[in-house]
C-alpha cells in the first residue's frame, strides 16, 4: 500500500511546485505594476493623448471602460475622429474628381432596397399575349372599353366621428361622381345588391378606430374584385401647409406609379377605374397613386406651366398612405370569399428586398 501511495504524493508535490512557479510568474508583473503605481496617473494621461493613435491592445473597445463619464468622453472623441476622417476622405475624392474633369468615373448609385429588389417573376411584360388577354377580359374591361362610367359610393364604418367624416367629404371632392352616404348600421352584403341596382361601380368603405381612419375597403361592382387596405398618415386639407384653393369639379388626370407585378397591375387598374376615363385638362388637376416599397401614396395636385421649362405644382389635399392587406375575388364576402392574394406577415416580408406590388 505504502509503495503505491508514494509516487502519487510525489506527483502532487511536483504539481504544487509548478503552480507556485506559475503564481510567482503571474505575481511579478502585478508587483511591477504596484511598484509603478505612482506612475499610473501618468500612464492614464498618456492614454488620453495617444488613444487616437491606437495605443491600446487591438481588442480594446470603448464599451469596456467602466467609468461612465470617461466612457462617454472617449466615445465622443472616437466619433469625432471618425467624422473627421470621413470628411477628409470625401474632400480627397472630390479633389480627385475635379482633377480628372470629364474623365472622372461615373458616380456610384447608392444602394437602396428598391434598386436591390429581388426579381419578381410575375413582373408584367407588355408584350405578353396571355396576360394581355387576361387583363382584357377581366372585371375592369367594361370600364377600359368605355362601356361604363364610374359612379362611386363612399360610406364609413358605423357611427363615424371626427376626422373620418371630413376625410370622406374630401375624398368625394377628389373623385368625380362620388356620393357620400351615412352607413345607418347597414350590412355591406345587403348594401351591395342595392348599389348594383343603382348602377354604382364602386363601393368605398372607410373604417375608423378611435376617431382616426385606419382601413379602406374598395369593392368594384358588379362582380368584384374587393381590395382591403390599411390607411395611415391621413392629412386633411386643413392641416396642409401651402395648399391651393379647393379643387374644382373637373375630372382629374390620374398617375399610377410603379405598379409592375401582376398583382400591382390589378391594383393599378382598380384605382384607374375609380376616375372617369377622359380627364378635363382645363382643371389642371392630377391625382397620383405612387407605389414605393408596397406602400401606395396618394397625392392630389394642381399644376401650372410657368414657361416652357418650369412647372409649378400646388397640393390640394387630402393625402394618405395605403397598404394592401388582401385582394379578394368577387364582391365583399370576408367569410366565404376566395382570396386572390392575402398579406401574410413574417412569411412574405421576411425578405426586405422583396416587394409584392
Amino acid at each position: 500500500m505504502d509503495i503505491t501511495e508514494v509516487p502519487v504524493s510525489q506527483d502532487i508535490k511536483s504539481k504544487k511546485s509548478k503552480n507556485k512557479k506559475t503564481k510567482k510568474k503571474r505575481v511579478s508583473p502585478e508587483g511591477a505594476a504596484k511598484k509603478s503605481g505612482a506612475d499610473q496617473e501618468e500612464v492614464e494621461v498618456k492614454m488620453e493623448k495617444t488613444e487616437a493613435e491606437a495605443a491600446f491592445p487591438p481588442t480594446f473597445s470603448v464599451s469596456e471602460i467602466k467609468n461612465k463619464q470617461r466612457r462617454h468622453l472617449m466615445f465622443m472623441k472616437l466619433k469625432q475622429e471618425k467624422r473627421k476622417q470621413k470628411i477628409q476622405l470625401k474632400k480627397k475624392k472630390k479633389k480627385e474628381r475635379e482633377a480628372l474633369g470629364d474623365k472622372a468615373p461615373p458616380k456610384e448609385v447608392p444602394k437602396t432596397i428598391e434598386n436591390q429588389r429581388v426579381y419578381d417573376e410575375t413582373t408584367v411584360d407588355p408584350e405578353d399575349e396571355e396576360v394581355r388577354f387576361d387583363e382584357g377580359t377581366d372585371e375592369f374591361s367594361a370600364y377600359f372599353n368605355g362601356l361604363t362610367n364610374p359612379k362611386v359610393l363612399i360610406t364609413t364604418s358605423d357611427r363615424p366621428r371626427g376626422r373620418t367624416v371630413k376625410f370622406c367629404e374630401q375624398l368625394a371632392t377628389v373623385i368625380p361622381n362620388a356620393h357620400v352616404y351615412y352607413r345607418r348600421g347597414l350590412a355591406l352584403k345587403r348594401i351591395i345588391p342595392q348599389c348594383i341596382a343603382r348602377n354604382f361601380t364602386y363601393l368605398m368603405v372607410i373604417n375608423e378606430d378611435r376617431k382616426v381612419p385606419n382601413g379602406l375597403v374598395l369593392c368594384h361592382l358588379p362582380d368584384g374584385p374587393t381590395a382591403h387596405f390599411k390607411v395611415s398618415s391621413v392629412r386633411l386639407r386643413k392641416e396642409m401647409k401651402r395648399r391651393g384653393k379647393d379643387p374644382t369639379e373637373h375630372f382629374p388626370e390620374v398617375i399610377l406609379n410603379n405598379f409592375s407585378t401582376r398583382l400591382g397591375h390589378s391594383i393599378g387598374r382598380l384605382f384607374a377605374a375609380l376616375f372617369p376615363q377622359d380627364p378635363q385638362f382645363v382643371g389642371r388637376q392630377v391625382a397620383t397613386f405612387h407605389n414605393q416599397r408596397d406602400f401606395i401614396f396618394f397625392r392630389f395636385h394642381r399644376y401650372i406651366f410657368k414657361n416652357e421649362k418650369k412647372v409649378g405644382i400646388q397640393e390640394l389635399g387630402p393625402r394618405f398612405t395605403l397598404k394592401l392587406r388582401s385582394l379578394q375575388k368577387g364582391t365583399f364576402d370576408s367569410k366565404f370569399g376566395e382570396y386572390e392574394w392575402v398579406l401574410k406577415r413574417h412569411e412574405m416580408d421576411a425578405c426586405r428586398r422583396k416587394f409584392q406590388l
Binding site: 396571355e130 396576360v131 370569399g337 386572390e340 392575402v342
Partner: protein, 384 residues
C-alpha cells in the same frame, strides 16, 4: 408539340381556357392552346386522364364541352358536347372502364356517356349545388357527390336509382340549432370503404359506409376559412387540405391533429393533388402559381408562375422529377451530364480541406449520375 407534351408531368387548367403542361425536370412550362382563339367560355373546370396509360387527357370547359387532348400528339383531337352550359359548369369528370365518360354539373346531374352516342346512357340527379364529384380509384363505377346543403352521396353507376350511401347531417348543436352543411371536396380512402370530405365550414369529416352510422365517424377542423380542396397522401393516413386564404395543412386521420402546414401560398387554393407514389403534393390556385411541396420535410420544391388563375390540376403518375422518356431527349440529357463532368474536372482545387470536401461531393455526384444513367438504360431496355 408532341415532344413537349410528352415531357410534361403536371397538367393545369386555367381560367383563361388554356391547358398548361409543366415539366419539372426541365423547369419549363408550355401552353397547349391556340393563342389567337382564347376566350373565357373555354375556362377549364375539370381535368382527368382518358385512359390508364395516361396518353389522353380529358378537359372539361365551362361551355359544356369535353375535349380530348392527346399527350402523344400534343394537340386536341376530339370535342364532345356533354350537356347544356345552362346547367352550370362541370364539377367533376371521370372515366369508366370501356371508355365511358362520367360528367357531373353544378346543377346536380350526373350523366354517363358512351363513346359514339350523343345521348347519355344513364342519368341521375344528385341534388342541387353539387360542388364536387369524385370517382373511387378502386371501384371505378362508384362515385361520390356533395355540395352546398347537399350531403355526401355515394352512387353505384350500375344501379343509378338509389345512392349506395347517403350521409346524415351533423347532430344539432348545443343550442338545438341546425348545423350548416357544405361539401367542397371529397376523396375515397383506399383499402377501405371510408370517404373523407372537407366542408365550407372549415371541417374535415370521415364517413364509413360499412358501418350503420351515417354521421361522420371522425370530425376535425382546420383554420377558420372555407376549405376548398383536399387530397389524400399516398399512405392514406394523412390528408392535405387547402382553404380560401392559401393555408394548406396536413391532417392526420388517425389522431385528428394537424401534422404540419405547407407554407408559401398567397392566394386561395383551387386544386390540390398528392402524387400517387412519391411524397410530394402539388397545389394551384388564384395566385397563379403552381407549387410543389415535399410531404416529408414540408419544404417548397418547385414554384412556377403560370400567368393565369388556375382552376384544376392533374399529376402524371410517373416520377415528376423524371427526365423525358423519349430516346433523343435521354441522349441530350446525357450529353449535359458529360458537360457537367468536364466542368468539375476543369475546376481548380482550392485547398487541402476544400479538396477533400470537393472530392467527396464529386464522388457522390458521380455515383448519383451513374445511378441515373443506369436507370435510363433500364428504361431504354424496357421500351425496346
Amino acid at each position: 408539340m408532341g415532344d413537349r407534351s410528352r415531357l410534361c408531368s403536371v397538367w393545369l387548367g386555367s381560367e383563361t381556357g388554356i391547358l398548361k403542361g409543366v415539366s419539372l425536370s426541365r423547369k419549363q412550362a408550355f401552353n397547349f392552346c391556340n393563342m389567337s382563339h382564347l376566350s373565357r367560355e373555354q375556362e377549364v373546370r375539370a381535368l382527368c386522364w382518358g385512359d390508364p396509360a395516361e396518353s389522353e387527357l380529358l378537359v372539361g370547359s365551362v361551355d359544356g364541352s369535353v375535349k380530348t387532348f392527346s399527350v402523344e400528339k400534343g394537340s386536341f383531337t376530339e370535342t364532345r358536347r356533354c350537356g347544356d352550359p345552362a346547367d352550370g359548369c362541370f364539377s367533376g369528370l371521370a372515366v369508366l372502364s370501356g371508355s365511358a365518360l362520367v360528367t357531373c354539373v353544378e346543377s346536380g346531374t350526373v350523366r354517363v356517356w358512351r363513346e359514339d352516342s350523343g345521348e347519355p346512357v344513364t342519368e341521375l340527379h344528385a341534388g342541387k349545388n353539387v360542388s364536387r364529384m369524385r370517382q373511387s380509384p378502386v371501384h371505378r363505377h362508384k362515385v361520390g357527390t356533395g355540395g352546398k346543403e347537399n350531403g355526401l352521396k355515394i352512387w353505384d353507376l350500375e344501379k343509378p336509382e338509389q345512392p349506395v350511401f347517403t350521409a346524415k347531417n351533423l347532430r344539432d348543436d348545443w343550442l338545438d340549432l341546425r348545423q350548416p352543411y357544405w361539401v367542397r371536396d371529397l376523396a375515397f380512402i383506399p383499402d377501405s370503404d371510408r370517404v373523407v370530405t372537407c366542408s365550407g365550414y372549415h371541417q374535415v369529416h370521415v364517413f364509413d359506409p360499412s358501418t350503420p352510422q351515417r354521421r361522420p365517424v371522425l370530425q376535425l377542423s382546420f383554420g377558420e376559412y372555407p376549405l376548398t380542396a383536399l387530397s389524400l397522401a399516398p399512405g392514406g393516413n394523412t390528408v392535405v387540405v387547402g382553404n380560401t386564404h392559401g393555408q394548406v395543412a396536413m391532417l392526420d386521420l388517425r389522431t385528428g391533429l394537424v401534422c404540419g402546414a405547407l407554407k408559401g401560398l398567397s392566394g386561395g387554393v383551387r386544386g390540390l393533388q398528392c402524387h400517387p407514389s412519391q411524397p410530394v403534393v402539388a397545389s394551384c390556385g388564384l395566385d397563379r402559381f403552381l407549387r410543389i411541396h415535399s410531404l416529408d420535410d414540408r419544404r417548397l420544391q418547385h414554384k412556377v408562375y403560370l400567368k393565369s388563375r388556375l382552376n384544376c390540376l392533374l399529376l402524371a403518375s410517373r416520377d415528376p422529377e423524371d427526365k423525358g422518356t423519349v430516346d433523343g431527349i435521354c441522349q441530350e440529357v446525357k450529353e449535359e451530364d458529360e458537360e457537367e463532368d468536364e466542368v468539375w474536372d476543369t475546376m481548380e482545387r482550392v485547398g487541402d480541406t476544400g479538396e477533400q470536401m470537393k472530392r467527396k461531393s464529386t464522388e457522390e455526384e458521380e455515383g448519383e449520375q451513374q445511378q441515373k444513367k443506369k436507370s435510363k438504360m433500364k428504361r431504354k431496355k424496357g421500351q425496346d
